[in-house]
């Protein structure tokens, strides 16, 4: 079932020194599926619809909608078959929640932040934080990745910067004197947002800290990133400063 609802203006996460990420008010699309096999299955999806005043907005809407539907359909399909590995006291339901919010919108750049929560059995569910940034340069529209923003070998620099920060501030797992067991590596750098204050990196649960109610974040001011920035895409840093 589809319906359009106005999104409330809410603080999604706080980061840096007193900054926070807000959702931008816009229409959103919501649909839910519920059925029973040998477990009760619920899947709900909510994502924003950016006003389609530009080709970029149309592109972003399509991409977001496509991913949301694919993830929903995959979960529903998997749960359509009776579930194995059941133990009645684990809870006899399976849950999928996908919730995305618009956090930035201008004619050249649109960004989303949200998360996917799944409970597929086990002790507790699993959360994955999602970020998406779409841009338009001349006639080209695409989703931006960190690889687009930086020169080759940037991951090593970013990783060292993050790890150094976490160690010196004893964040998350780095609060422990022995952090040789921490699995954080350069490949874990994927979720990001371009904020007014700088590049905001988001870390999934169990990467630099355990399971919690919010993602661990690290804000890196743009001026610290100039040496590794891809000159062709410096505009994105300049725009947001």
């Amino acid at each position: 079932m589809y319906s359009f609802l106005a999104q409330a203006f809410t603080i999604l996460i706080s980061f840096g020194t007193g900054d926070s990420l807000h959702s931008i008010d816009c229409e959103s699309e919501l649909f839910e599926t519920a059925f029973d096999t040998n477990v009760h299955v619920e899947a709900s999806v909510s994502y924003p619809r950016v006003p389609e005043t530009t080709p970029l907005a149309r592109y972003a809407n399509e991409a977001v909608s496509k991913e949301a539907h694919e993830l929903h359909d995959t979960f529903v399909q998997e749960m359509s078959a009776p579930q194995e590995e059941l133990w009645e006291e684990d809870g006899d339901e399976r849950t999928f929640r996908y919730d995305l919010n618009l956090v930035h919108s201008d004619p050249d750049l649109v960004s989303f932040y949200g998360l996917r929560y799944q409970y597929r059995g086990g002790i507790h569910g699993s959360v994955r934080y999602i970020t998406k940034t779409f841009c338009q340069q001349d006639d080209t529209i695409r989703e931006l990745s960190l690889d687009d923003l930086f020169l080759p070998e940037y991951r090593k620099w970013l990783f060292q910067h993050c790890e150094s920060y976490f160690k010196s501030n004893r964040c998350g797992y780095y609060d422990d004197d022995d952090h040789s067991w921490v699995g954080f590596n350069p490949k874990d750098l994927d979720a990001f947002l371009l904020t007014e204050k700088g590049l905001l990196l988001l870390f999934q649960n169990y990467v630099v800290s355990g399971y919690d109610d919010h993602p661990t974040t690290l804000l890196i001011p743009y001026n610290k990133l100039i040496s590794i920035a891809n000159p062709a895409n410096l505009i994105f840093f300049g725009q947001k400063k």
């Binding site: 133990w87 849950t95 990467v207």
Partner: protein, 256 residues
Amino acid sequence: MKFKKFIRAEEGEERNSVVYYDEDGNKLIRYWKRYPDEPDDKVSTRSWRNNNPGNLRIGPFARRNGSIGEAGLPPGSKPTDPKFAVFPDYETGRKAQAKRLKEGDLYIDLTLEDLPKRYVGVKLKDPDTKEVIDYRNAIRKFTKFDMKRTVRSLNDTEYEQLLDAMKRHEGWRDGREEPIFVQKILSVHVNSKRVISEFLVGDDREKQWISKTLAVSLAEAGRLHAIVVHTKTGVYLRPEYHNTPFKQLIVPSTVA
């Protein structure tokens, strides 16, 4: 003052906080942040706030094994989705996790290699997720056990080591606690018009006479076992339900 046994817990009013209630109605609040602007990467963990080192969801098992409430909706969940179990103390939470892995047949015969998969809800036949790989590596590095061993094969000491490893990987960081002791009304003084003028508050060890005004303030702040009643003619206190009527607590005033 000391807390008696905690018998109930729930979400606190302040974001991400948890409130524990003991048998006397005294409260212990565990906060997310020590101070309002504390960076998110320094805050206390859900596991600590809930006394739940394994981050067990609320459900029949947790309730049967000492959980006294639930708090902390997983991000993105609906209000009706299960929250995390809250245990009265760390030992009870730890025992519940220990029992969870050995009760039934879901975990006990798994190898340490496979344990993280089922713990986080990935089917054994499905490919490893990054979450599973990191969990497994943490167990391997902490315990140095052969990962082909099963949960069942671990002796008591080894099993505690496994639980320690899982606690560290789930995350455990303490934070700010605020004890709020709710005083009892032990006696009252009445004036010549038979109107209550003073309350004796405290417990068997510590007690003091306080004015009616102060008693009302304490009750409004949730620090006195009494109900504040506002009327057109003023404010007065009455006992909580099932408590002794104030009439029976009247003692004569000592004249200096």
